[in-house]
Amino acid sequence: MMRRALLPALLLLLAACDSAPEIAFADASITLPDDPVDLPEGPGREAVIENCTACHSPSTMLQQPKVSREKWESIVGKMRKLYKAPVDEAAAAQVVDYMVAVQARPEAAR
């Protein structure tokens, strides 16, 4: 066990040890769950699956607040230019169409 020594002068809850402790690190490994969500039907859905889902869970896309077509164009542009997403011009337009179309629906229908 570490022996705790408070350092009130620093007003910090710090504890110090007299000698270096033996810290054992075990290898770590986990398995992450899959995203169970499918994207709803809509124009450009295949382009979204091919170009977006490797980095963005479908659920995340569907949880975004409703924003303008211009904003989606800006977001897709940022993915291409800044994050180097390999999305061609035609696919980018389809992705924007899809997000605008899905967001135009009532929430319960997305």
Binding site: A15, D27, C55
Partner: protein, 405 residues
């Protein structure tokens, strides 16, 4: 996979083939666990909850891959320490799901006398072992509550938690390499890397004076357990009082810079307007988000809860001073305010602290009441949101309504 970067072909292959069925967002919960309503203005507001992530309890799923998990506010009803299985999880890029301890190295380089590659044993032996209790809060915590809404992870207020962190001082690790003259900032990188070639790596830096603080750590322990993979095994940076964007996880590189940091996540992202702006503003000067402002939350009652008319009422919750100790908490309503009692200082200036207030008699509904924290530096929560386009550093007074009957 040796090279985590993906070609376009691999990106497509990795996406799998989704069935043509079209379940709505509301069906996610049935597949994962439950659903929770985060009351995000204008929606979509429902989020699935699941205990399915390794080492985690019931968490709100903001993203599956890379994981973004939020704590339900009920987690904060008791105590000041957030259990490890309820601490929020946030990764910018996909992280490895397996890390071998013996093979892990932390490279310390840049403006140092002797660049070194340190094993985990080298790190733990670099100096005295230190513990600090500190709140870990995402810079975007509460973003989903912004009005007007902004894009990004739509967090409620659960992208925060308070833990006891164990490690060695960053300055002791830097001393293994020896600082050369002219060091201005210290930059960190972890094992999480972009999926696409050329995209910016998630690297972050802090000024040298912050790096030299006695409570800034290279940590391996979280509430007396080893860091889990989701929380940054084997090592993460801890900067008490600063937003967790600087608390780089799966630490693998420490680099001493001699000038400004022009990397994307410091120079272009995680920034707020230097002065308050309107949502229509363009081309305004920005500053990096760094230190946290004070915040407070009512945890004893949810918005819309019913209270007993004519009876006494006790409200309770948590508060934080941010980058300085909490000084006071006040319950505020429309045209009135009542000082709250602070609980014992259990965790020091960077921890949550509990508060409570006893109201002798409920005379009617409480419309839009909230709690307002002030820290010892005089920083106080504003009554109105200071809106910014990325929804960072939210600290407006959070308000609820209680119905008397």
């Amino acid at each position: 996979m040796n090279d985590p970067r993906l070609s376009r072909r691999a990106l497509i292959a990795g996406a799998g083939t989704a069935a043509l069925a079209a379940p709505a967002l509301a069906s996610i919960g049935a597949k994962l666990g439950g659903m929770i309503d985060l009351a995000l203005p204008g929606g979509p507001s429902l989020r699935p909850t699941t205990p399915a992530f390794p080492g985690k309890g019931e968490m709100i799923v903001q993203r599956i891959r890379p994981p973004l998990l939020e704590a339900p506010m009920e987690v904060f009803r008791e105590g000041i320490i957030t259990p490890n299985d309820r601490m929020f999880v946030r990764w910018n890029w996909q992280m490895p799901t397996e890390v071998k301890a013996a093979g892990h190295r932390v490279a310390v380089g840049g403006a140092v006398k002797n660049a070194v590659s340190l094993t985990l044993s080298d790190i733990t032996a670099a100096g005295e072992t230190v513990e600090v209790i500190a709140i870990n809060q995402c810079a975007g915590n509460g973003r989903g509550l912004s009005e007007p809404r902004v894009t990004g992870t739509q967090w409620g207020n659960g992208a925060m938690g308070c833990a006891k962190w164990t490690g060695v001082r960053l300055k002791d690790v830097l001393a293994k390499a020896g600082l050369a003259a002219g060091g201005s900032r210290v930059r960190f990188a972890g094992l999480d890397v972009p999926l696409t070639d050329g995209a910016p790596q998630f690297i972050k830096s802090i000024p040298m004076d912050i790096a030299m603080r006695d409570d800034v750590l290279v940590a391996w322990g979280m509430n007396d357990e080893p860091l889990s993979i989701l929380h940054g095994f084997p090592l993460r940076i801890v900067v008490p009082g600063w937003f967790s964007t600087y608390w780089v996880k799966m630490l693998s590189t420490i680099e001493v810079l001699t000038g400004e940091d022009d990397s994307y996540y410091v120079a272009d992202s995680y920034r707020i307007p230097a002065q308050p702006i309107t949502p229509e503003a363009k081309d305004f000067p920005t500053v990096a988000i760094t230190a946290m402002p004070p915040r407070a939350f009512i945890t004893s009652h949810a918005d819309g809860a019913t209270v007993a008319l004519g009876k006494p009422l006790m409200l309770e919750g948590i508060a934080m001073g941010g980058d300085a100790a909490l000084e006071r908490v006040d319950l505020v309503g429309k045209g009135w305010e009542i000082p709250c009692d602070l609980g014992p200082d259990e965790g020091g200036p960077y921890a949550f602290r509990r508060w409570s207030v006893n109201l002798p008699q409920v005379a009617g509904d409480f419309d839009g009441i909230g709690v307002r924290a002030r820290n010892v530096n005089g920083a106080v929560q504003p009554a109105a949101l200071v809106w910014n386009p990325s929804g960072y550093a939210r600290n407006v007074i959070e308000r609820i309504t209680l119905r008397a009957q």
